[in-house]
Subunit: 215 residues, 2 copies
Amino acid sequence: MALAIKVNEETFTPRQQAVLTAALDLLVENGDGLTMTAVARRASCSKETLYKWFGDRDGLLTATVQWQAAKVRMPFVDRSHLNIKALRASLEQFARDLLTTIVGEVSITLNRTAITHAAQEKDDLGNIVLENGPMAIRRRLKPILEAARDARLLRFPNSEEAYRTFFGLVVRDVQIRLLLGDKGLTQSNVEANIESDVKAAADQFLTLYGVKANS
Amino acid sequence: MALAIKVNEETFTPRQQAVLTAALDLLVENGDGLTMTAVARRASCSKETLYKWFGDRDGLLTATVQWQAAKVRMPFVDRSHLNIKALRASLEQFARDLLTTIVGEVSITLNRTAITHAAQEKDDLGNIVLENGPMAIRRRLKPILEAARDARLLRFPNSEEAYRTFFGLVVRDVQIRLLLGDKGLTQSNVEANIESDVKAAADQFLTLYGVKANS
DNA sequence: GAAGTGGCGTACCGTACGGTACGGTTCGTT
DNA sequence: AACGAACCGTACCGTACGGTACGCCACTTC
């Protein structure tokens, strides 16, 4: 299945990566600016080369999104010795990483592109972004939550529900407002509050799911 | 300012509303299907009329989104005699309405369209959707939260924060996954869980912000 | 140094679509 | 009945863009 494709650095030659960078830049600058001619000019390559490497416009778009989305790196969290302090630190780390990613220009562009794509019965990009964004986080966070439950630090009936609550507490309405271009929510504006938001989200999550013993 | 424009039923004649309905249908069926020719054919009108009524394609798009977005009606909540039971009912009502709206095909389409639009430095549609979606809910919910605080039913330092937490607890990752076309999240699938999700969100919100006296 | 290969730049083609023009029809007004 | 406004249907124009073809250069390989 296409989703299982692993995209490592060797998938694209440096030259190809330069092309993809150009494509991403154009996407960021102006969502619909990704015309084959524009990419070719920006990357100083010929259109013929683009078609040779990526097949067609959709292929180029997919490659760009896939390549960038795969760059999102999840923080590594030590789950060997879990205590309440380490758990809180882990949660904050996840929240911080999630917020920082979501706020970024690249993430906004990728999500917008994928959503536009999904609006046309083609959900390739949507799945790629999902897989590398929310789902990747879920895969990393869930085992930690379950380990914490086993260690009697958390209590919840359903780890899926717990994860989704965490996601909601962290992201709130930030992502949708950024995607919609809310002017009252500048990037720097959000970034300034990340630390306090991260802490608040972790506090709230622990209030909801932590066992009472923990202050 | 454009945002302040009130769109009531008299803004558009019935014939024009029929055109807008056709436009919306095309949008829902296929995001990029809104071509002037297609709308004209679907609505059995001439392109010339479209341009006469709506100026250009963007005008038609804006009119469609504005007209539909304004149709989202917020539930009226009686805030005269607030007790914990009434508060919980209000919260659940808001949550239910929010979820029901978000899950709807029309809402998804409108949000996708506005996001696509926002990706091209034009944030008109984004603001319209924001104003009629999240912001409308905020305007309605905030006074209730503050009334509940005054009645010592809730405790929070900042009503804005409380509102955003509520939004996060209710929406979680549902909206972004729907916008991205997540196949693992069908509309009916979500709808079936709305009631339990609504209850869970209200419980969690009250756990976080309710004063202890309330069980 | 001849031959082959990869890739740049440009020119070109076809189509889709935004926007305009115009003839014909219906319908309301006088 | 005569007029005019509104509007439908269709034909048309210009442009932007996806995709292709080709000539030329640079660099490798024998």
